[in-house]
Amino acid sequence: MSALLEIRGLEVAYGQSQVLFGIDLTLAEGEVATLLGRNGMGKSTTLRALCGLSPAPAGILAGAIRFAGEEIAGRPPDRIGRGGIALVPEGRQIFANLSVRENLVAFAANRRGVAEPWTLDRVFELFPRLAERQQNMGNQLSGGEQQMLAIGRALMTNPRLLILDEATEGLAPLVREEIWQCLARLRAAGQTTLVVDKYVERLIALADRHTIVERGRVVWQGSSAELDADHGVWHRYLGV
């Protein structure tokens, strides 16, 4: 397996205050990896920097991000997006003034010519609730429905790398369960995925490798088996 994504020594600041102090992370094609850590430790900041959404004015201070063999740090977000990275951001960020359907079709793409691309029908199959709400505006959805829409929207771009930032927040247990199963199926189909979430047990079952950050630094990295075995790590870094 070749490395699809490689982050080296990433340092990021919001204005004067630096929050990432050298994050390293590699992700092979077809792999599912997680980023774990307590609240405010820098998970979302890492993901956003990856997507080119690093905060102005300081932004990325140092580090390299290679994606599919190209250096993408400092590129504008739209180029990164077209390059095949899709983000399900925390806080959903769906387009309030677009209908559910529009939210999904506006950015639909199959740039890599995937054999079985995500389509409107497949998304509606995954989230029947969205099919019922097709014509509603984004801001008329319930919190969970919005979350489904944010996931669907990212899938519709058929990304090479799918990034989920707390994508199960606010979802009912049943739906959450479906998301895990869907991610497992995607993994089987070779979808590379980077996940941030709080359900560690489920993530261990789902992902190959895990990275834990604490105050903007990587403090632990390992496989699912290693994490499963070491509950000290859970307790120390995740507060479980």
Binding site: E90, G144, A172, L238, G239
Partner: protein
Amino acid sequence: MSNEANGGLLAVAGVSRHFGGVHALSGVSLAVAEGEVHALIGPNGAGKTTLIHQLSGAQTPDAGTIRFAGEDVTRLPMHARVARGIARSWQVTNVFARLTALDNVALAVQGRQRDWGGSFRFWAPVDKERAIVDEAATWLAEVGLAGRESTVAGSLAHGEQRQLELALALATKPRLLLLDEPMAGMGPEESERVVALIEHLGRKVTLLLVEHDMDAVFRLADRISVLVGGRLICTGLPDEVRAHPEVRKAYLGEEMA
């Protein structure tokens, strides 16, 4: 439980609300007794947030009545309901993004003080009112944001904003607190802290809790109501609800139980 006679502290009768063709709530009736922790669960889009909106006054129902402590509050504006002791938190974070965490909570504390003109005071500098500031700091500590007082709310991490959201609601010292997914976005440790906080509060404040975190719900709730498709399908003790076949089918799934 002194208000039992008129249906509890909060008595919701036949409340309906629709948006265009969507019937978000259809004839929901529910009673919450004083001092109880009452959980409200249900699938996404079941109408939980919509019900909170009707109770808090962010929206008014198309039909039905809402009585609080015996008084009909169905048509009261939000601020009047807060004055009577109903406070809420939002599912989507809703704080004063450009004020410091402490300023955020201080506003909540100040809003509670309604003696002589309340905040229609034009002269005395509020900075001199130590009591407000001190109390605000206490609330921040309570939700686990000690040390973050002077951080601007907008630059708190997502989970921290959720904690601040809770502090704001608590600082109004409500009789009835409506919490819409307070644990969403919080890590396990923070969730644990909030659960403990709610357990502690439960003795003094009546709580209506909307939450998808079932561990928390079953640990905290005295009673649970289940909304599905805008209708209340059951209300009962946690164990009854857990065993309810329809609830398992529509919401919990099999292994959850």
